[in-house]
């Protein structure tokens, strides 16, 4: 596990519709400590997904750099596990082969990677789904596989791009609780992107509010763990922090 540093990150691109250069991300600097859970929240178009894509290495930065530990990022790599909004599971692979994919890339033989994959599947209650194909699973189940697939590869940093935005509200709350539970056991360094203020406050140690490609403010979330919706949603701290963040996002 390592920390994650974003140093003076810029992204500009040429917008064909507007016929001019547009700044998506402007001078964003951010340090996520080893084992820290940071959520970046902001309205659509604020540049939060662009930041994640640059950190993941899917998109080159115009200026600035990203460091995992003290090593600069050049393109995608297994040191940064990514959980995608639309799951991005391989439809031609079974659940267990999806989860074992990163291990296969590292040359780990099939019996060993199946054993590891099963351990991680158990972590998310997916033991019975091991031999199913993704299209046979509900959205919530698919995203559990997505999370477990990233975790099984033992990344230094976990990047999550609005991972629960495309499941229904009840499932979303369950998945959020499962994520806090797993995170508490394993203490990954997490960069979590969302437009959902409640989700950001519920999950994170620290919330970054993003506006027009810039960091508007950072807020620490000192709510005790373990966190569960039943208790957390009643807490004054949670209500106060949520409304504070919400106001900032709405003014953004």
């Amino acid at each position: 596990m390592k920390g994650l540093t974003l140093r003076n990150l810029h992204k500009t691109y040429f917008d064909l519709n507007m016929g001019s250069r547009v700044t998506a991300v402007q001078d964003v600097s951010l340090h996520i400590r080893e084992g820290e859970f940071v959520a970046v929240v902001g309205p659509s178009g604020c540049g939060k997904s662009t930041i994640l894509n640059m950190v993941a290495g899917f998109l080159p930065a115009t200026k600035g750099e990203v460091l995992v530990g003290d090593r600069p990022v050049k393109g995608p790599g297994p040191d940064r596990g990514v959980v995608f909004q639309n799951f991005a599971l391989f439809p031609w692979k079974t659940v267990i082969d999806n989860v074992g994919f990163g291990l296969k890339m590292r040359g780990i033989p099939k019996p060993e990677r199946d054993r590891i994959a099963r351990e991680f599947l158990a972590l998310a209650g997916l033991t019975n789904a091991a031999d199913r194909y993704p299209n046979e699973l509900s959205g919530g189940m698919q995203q559990r596989v997505g999370v477990v697939r990233a975790l099984a590869n033992e990344p230094d940093v976990l990047l999550m791009d609005e991972p629960f935005a495309s499941v229904d509200a009840q499932t979303r709350m369950t998945l959020q609780e499962e994520l806090t539970r797993i995170w508490q056991e394993r203490r990954h360094t997490v960069l979590f992107i969302t437009h959902d203020v409640g989700e950001a406050v519920f999950l994170a140690d620290r919330v970054i509010v993003l506006s027009k490609g810039q960091v508007l403010r950072e807020i620490d979330i000192p709510i005790s763990r373990p966190r569960a919706w039943d208790t957390v949603s009643e807490q004054d701290d949670f209500k106060r922090l949520s409304s504070e963040v919400l106001q900032m996002v709405r003014s953004a």
Binding site: G75, G81, A88, F90, P91, G102, N135
Partner: protein, 273 residues
């Protein structure tokens, strides 16, 4: 026909078998009807064997052909030619299609060309093929190769470029290098399209082959038909036509269609409901 076939894959057990039987019956019944009407019409209208043969004459021709081995030789030669041309074409088309699919510049340049030649594929190549390769093996292989090559390359290109970028991102972030990206993502992702391309291409190839054999060779089903015409052997012509149709139905219905359905289903392009 194919519209009724798909749901069967989702039904298990004896009910599934029964559905297959019913479908097969529904397909064969009109053919049987035609088979019954044929001798009646030939008799009633007193059709000359030079115009159209009777059933018995065709059966006789089949028996003769089987006895002296010529029929089998024609069929085997034709199938061998299609197999060779198809294997060569697929081996060349898939790598090219993948290369085009991952490189948007190359694909923009070549896509219109491949679409054009996909439509052209088959019979239209015969005259130039015989000019280039003379009459025989080269010309026929060339015709089959072209019929399959352009369609498979074009479909592979479509399949690769239709793979969502997030799947390639996911693979890269899990440590996939160039080779693994090819074998684990691009090829399996494009496979349903590739199979569809092979199915369509083989259809063109089979028709093209028969036509090419009529002018460019001295053995094969197309040649058998063509020579029979010179001797007014209508029973051999009709026998050849029946065999050509039956062979294609077998290849397409029993081999290609199930393969295509299986990949498309497995890949989740058809959602199970």
């Amino acid at each position: 026909m194919s519209d009724h076939v798909e749901p069967i894959a989702f039904i298990a057990g004896p009910k599934r078998v029964w559905l297959y039987v019913r479908q097969a019956a529904a397909f064969i019944a009109p053919l049987v009807l035609l088979l019954l009407a044929w001798p009646a019409i030939v008799t009633i209208f007193d059709v000359s064997p030079r115009v159209f043969p009777g059933v018995q004459a065709v059966l006789g021709a089949a028996a003769d052909g089987l006895r002296d081995g010529t029929l089998l030789a024609h069929v085997a030669t034709s199938l061998g030619r299609v197999a060779l041309g198809t294997v060569l074409a697929v081996a060349a088309a898939v790598p090219l299609g993948v290369a085009m699919g991952v490189n948007s510049g190359v694909s923009a340049l070549l896509t219109p060309l491949f679409r054009f030649f996909s439509v052209l594929a088959g019979i239209a190549w015969i005259p130039i093929a015989t000019l280039w390769f003379g009459y025989g093996f080269g010309a026929i292989t060339f015709v089959i190769f072209n019929a399959v090559f352009f369609i498979v390359a074009y479909n592979t290109l479509l399949g690769v470029s239709a793979i969502p970028p997030r799947l390639r991102h996911a693979a890269a972030s899990l440590g996939a290098g160039r080779v693994a990206m090819l074998t684990e993502v691009l090829l399996p992702g494009a496979l349903p399209n590739i199979v569809t391309g092979v199915r369509t291409g083989l259809g063109f190839a089979w028709r093209g082959l028969i036509a090419a054999e009529m002018i460019a060779t001295d053995v094969g089903l197309g040649y058998m038909l063509f020579v029979a015409r010179d001797f007014y052997r209508t029973e051999v012509i009709v026998l050849g036509m029946i065999i050509i149709g039956i062979i294609w139905l077998f290849i397409d219905r029993l081999l290609l269609a199930p393969l295509e359905r299986a990949t498309i289903e497995r890949w989740g392009l058809v959602q199970r409901t």
